[in-house]
Amino acid sequence: MYRYDEFDRTFVTQRVEQFREQVARRVSGELSEDEFKPLRLTNGLYLQLHAYMLRVAIPYGTLSSRQLRRLAFIARRYDRGYGHFTTRQNIQFNWPTLGEVPDILEELAEVEMHAIQTSGNCIRNTTADATAGVAADEIADSRIYCELIRQWSTLHPEFSFLPRKFKVAVTGSGRDRAVTAAHDIGLRLKRDADGRVGFEVLVGGGQGRTPILAVTIREFLPERHLLSYLEAVLRVYNQLGRRDNIYKARIKILVRETGTAEFARLVEEEWAHIRDGELALPEQEIARIRAYFAPPPYEALADACPELDAQRAGNRAFDAWVRSNVEAHKRPGYAVATVSLKPHGGIPGDASADQMEAVADLADAFGFSEIRVTYKQNLLLPDLRQRDLFAVWRGLKEAGLATANSHRLSDIIACPGLDYCNLANARSIPIAQMISTRFADLEREQEIGNVTVNISGCINACAHHHVANIGILGVDKKGKEFYQVTLGGAADETAAIGDIVGPAFDEDAIVGAVETVVDVYLAERRDAAEPFIDTYRRIGIKPFKEKLYAAR
């Protein structure tokens, strides 16, 4: 796994001390809130509805058991015993006090973590697909490139004050597991005809009040040109992006207004000046970073695992969990398991300190001490022997983490919403809880199959509701919470923005509306093998609309 180099260590430690001084000056009254706010935000500290909130970066979603234990320790010692994992592979602590934040940052620095690049108009923490390094179908480990991007972008002097925040995501193959189409820059690893590794480059994706899918501006970018090409994209954006209107400042607006072809031309023009300069990546440099992500010492195993087969046959609950939460690994005899942070009726993405420690223990015992944070607000154990799955499942079950619902309807992405967030219009978590309770029957969930349900508490769309199969957006109507439903969005390689189905539903009607949508799907699907999104694409919005508003 990647470790800090000396530069990072010195820098992060200095940053903590600097922030400690800034906090002291704020508390003594020397700094006003206006002066202090940008300083705290650069260190990941927000002010929410009830308290401060500290957002901690988890670069490319990779954690060691030691780091996860430290997060658990922070949750217990400095917070209220839990943390909230987000779609951007961060963790948020909801109750830190101002005076203790420097101590928390110091605790984090000791395990090579920090809260830099989690806020502000800079290049944010780059996200990767959670199965990087282990996915059976990947071209290369996307974390290598995330790390190259991290080193290039951290405190890049030219790009610390962009028109708006800037998010990059990298996925390891043509199968998009990092929602690249919803990012300012999305990179999809691929090979060219000669077998060389490179990227399809997408730009201009984004959510918020103007959801736009990213467009491809380069079909193939050889890996050695990654940084110079990104630099060219950022330069064009930095020069031409709008700074006069916050709603038009993201690169998505620039790309749309400029046109894909013209934007691509501008980038190529800029790139021509710098492509063979100092940002060109020599093979040795890529190899150096690749070495940080060297695979753990796998055993040579057979892919068949009779023990597992017997355990599955003997335990229906375990079998259901394997079916929904376990994925193929690229090494024979190994498997990837999702640790669900979505118990039915629970708060999506929340994990208690005890649960974090339980996962860390299981990672130590069975999984090379490695844990991932997924885009779907779950954790993942990437390197398990198939024959250990039963023991892992039992451990997870004891910790309340073995819900067999990965990719199912109750695997809901929900932002903090009005229960915590200062910008919210409506609550999202209780809606997620009601829906997951309504669909708590595992057999019914299994029958419904894979479907994505995302709930955002305002149009900022932190839960990516626009790209959910069933999207729910909280709106405020004269102080009352209402929920608008979109259908047909998708966050994978067939990315799509959902269509608004009609007038919003109130809190009492929204769960019934989701159920109606599911009923229409079940009635209309060709067979059990046709997932929700395919049925929707085949029959369109009309049958759903008719059923949803029939009684009105």
Binding site: L47, H50, Y52, L98, R427, Q433, G479
Partner: protein, 105 residues
């Protein structure tokens, strides 16, 4: 005419510097964690006076981001209008063991 036309009752809220907790401006110019203690303005003039005090405390760095919001009278004192301010008086509705509601349970 200022200070005489009918406006909804309002109180002033902010977040406390040290822990970010929700606080309300009281009639004696202090701040309380409980809306029951809040100063209520019924006229523009009263609101202006409260806002002046709140702004002074914000400038002095004691509180963050003060603003006025509408309340209506209730059995145990003023009640906020709207979900956002209601939740601010209580804490997260999904964690009733946390926030002010926990102490008041």
């Amino acid at each position: 005419m200022r200070g005489s036309f009918v406006m909804p009752n309002t109180a002033i809220t902010a977040n406390r510097l040290l822990d970010g907790f929700v606080i309300y401006l009281t009639p004696d110019g202090g701040w309380s964690e409980s809306l029951a203690d809040a100063a209520i303005a019924a006229t523009e003039a009263e609101l202006d006076a409260l806002q002046a005090v709140a702004e002074r405390d914000a400038r002095a760095g004691r509180v963050i981001g003060p603003y006025a919001f509408d309340v209506q009278p209730g059995a145990d004192g003023p009640v906020p209008l709207g979900q956002r301010e209601t939740l601010r008086t209580l804490g997260p509705s999904v964690r009733t063991d946390l926030g002010y509601q926990a102490a008041r349970r």
